[in-house]
């Protein structure tokens, strides 16, 4: 059997397993948006605090209660981990109290926190305490070298703190991911910064994500990348993956990956990051948003909220709703309609989708990675007229 026949068959089998996951939707990950409050005000933030009513934030008791309810109601045998995001999670002064309470459950002892690193740098002793309450991983955002990073955050000194926090976390034995959001003002330093990170921080993962057209980035759209720039980033990742992936079996090696930017096509998937991508939002990933609303990742439009833990049983919501996440035909429209990659990506990452059925962000199509250039008349604003969203059943 040739290489390509072999791969075709393997992709077919992989696709079947994805369909099983969509059907069975076992709970494996909880993404908890602990707060929307933040001590920084990044120009590219996808989940800014000013868009929401922070008074609605879950109380300590409500947050603990939600995790306890899940622990009692769900089959947790396949559960993997809790991913805590924000805002800035450490802004919550009760974060340790919540973690202390929930980590008494054995399956809640594999927790990671996405942070800007400021609190850790200012309070390095927290690293000892976090270990005791089930935290094993830390994701720290650093978007380039000092002047680039600080100018984006509007506060001098945040870069030094983020780097320091990441170094301390690695030293303390956490699994550390350094996340880099690629945008127009930092991609010129991507390669040099990657070297800096692998030499000076040595995290397990250097993750590159594409800036998304949402949150504050919408107001700062000069930060968005052109198709050419996106292709440059992908080329960088492919090169680095090819150069270093043979060392990935060594847990001390630093890996490079593209975060959930989207499906890259059967040719490139598995060659620019150490996995084949499929969005897991709502499939095995339950999101508890800052105010107790139930969705998935917090960068997904709140129009896709499926329930409210303050008024409903979480298991009931998870078991009986989430149709827009699991029944994806409504997304098969516009550029996805006859896309040959549809069966593999089902429309790509959920956070790219808008409730009106538009998706401004397929990197495969927009960047013409595998395809001929799109015609100049192509326009995404009028090609979604026929979609039907299963949540609203509104045409």
């Amino acid at each position: 059997m040739s290489h390509s026949e072999d791969l075709t068959l393997l992709f077919e089998n992989w696709k079947g397993r994805i369909e099983t996951l969509m059907r069975e939707h076992p709970l494996q990950i909880i993404s908890w948006e602990a707060t929307r409050r933040c001590n920084l005000k990044c120009l590219h933030c996808g989940t800014p605090s000013e868009e929401v009513d922070n008074a609605e934030e879950l109380t300590t008791g409500e947050a603990i209660g939600a995790f306890d309810e899940i622990a009692r109601d769900f089959d947790m045998s396949r559960f993997r981990h809790i991913n805590i995001t924000g805002g800035e999670p450490f802004i919550r002064s009760d974060l340790l109290d919540v973690l202390r309470a929930i980590s008494r459950w054995p399956f809640y002892r594999n927790i990671d926190i996405q942070t800007n690193g400021v609190f850790i740098a200012d309070n390095p002793d927290i690293l000892k305490e976090l270990r005791g309450v089930g935290v094993t991983g830390l994701g720290i955002s650093i978007d380039g070298f000092e002047s680039t990073h600080d100018s984006l955050r509007g506060i001098q000194g945040t870069w030094a703190k983020a780097v320091n926090a990441a170094q301390l976390a690695v030293e303390a034995g956490y699994v550390v991911t350094v996340s880099f959001v690629a945008h127009s003002r930092n991609i010129h330093e991507l390669s040099a910064f990657h070297h800096f990170v692998t030499d000076e921080i040595r995290p397990r993962v250097f993750r590159v994500m594409f800036i998304d057209d949402q949150g504050r980035a919408r107001e700062n759209d000069d930060l968005l990348l052109s198709s050419v720039q996106v292709r440059e980033v992908i080329a960088f990742l492919k090169r680095e993956h090819e150069r270093s992936c043979r060392n990935y079996s060594d847990p001390s090696a630093s890996m490079v990956e593209l975060g959930c930017g989207g499906w890259l096509g059967t040719e490139l998937e598995g060659r620019v990051r150490p996995f084949i991508f499929h969005c897991i939002a709502g499939l095995n990933n339950l999101g508890i948003l800052y105010d107790g609303k139930l969705g998935s990742c917090n960068n997904i439009s709140r129009d896709f909220i499926q329930g409210d833990l303050r008024y409903e049983r979480i298991k009931h919501v998870w078991g009986s709703r989430y149709l827009p996440f699991r029944e994806t035909e409504w997304r098969k429209t516009g550029p996805c309609y006859k896309c040959r990659e549809w069966d593999f990506c089902h429309g790509g990452p959920m956070h790219k989708w808008r409730p009106n059925g538009s998706n401004p962000g397929c990197i495969l199509i927009n960047c013409q990675i595998l395809r001929a250039p799109l015609p100049s008349t192509f326009c995404t604003s009028n090609i979604h007229a026929e979609f039907v969203c299963p949540r609203t059943q509104v045409r």
Partner: protein
């Protein structure tokens, strides 16, 4: 009998860099196949959402990227 040789312009010179490049691509494809064979199709995506590529004692990486 004289040995026939190809004109020098037609002889493909051996380029060790090309060999290295080819073996690197072969290796990447070998790893990609293993990713596709992994029983849980979103094994790593699960971990990517957090910071735990090393869940299960690094098994995914030991198997996928074994030389």
């Amino acid at each position: 009998m004289p040995i026939k040789t190809q004109p020098s312009s037609k002889v493909k010179e051996h380029d060790p860099a090309c060999d290295h490049q080819q073996s690197s691509v072969d290796e990447v494809l070998k790893f990609k196949k293993r990713m596709l064979e992994w029983p849980n199709p979103v094994e790593y995506v699960n971990n990517m959402y957090g910071c735990h590529p090393d869940d299960d004692d690094n098994e995914y990486f030991r198997v996928i990227f074994a030389k």
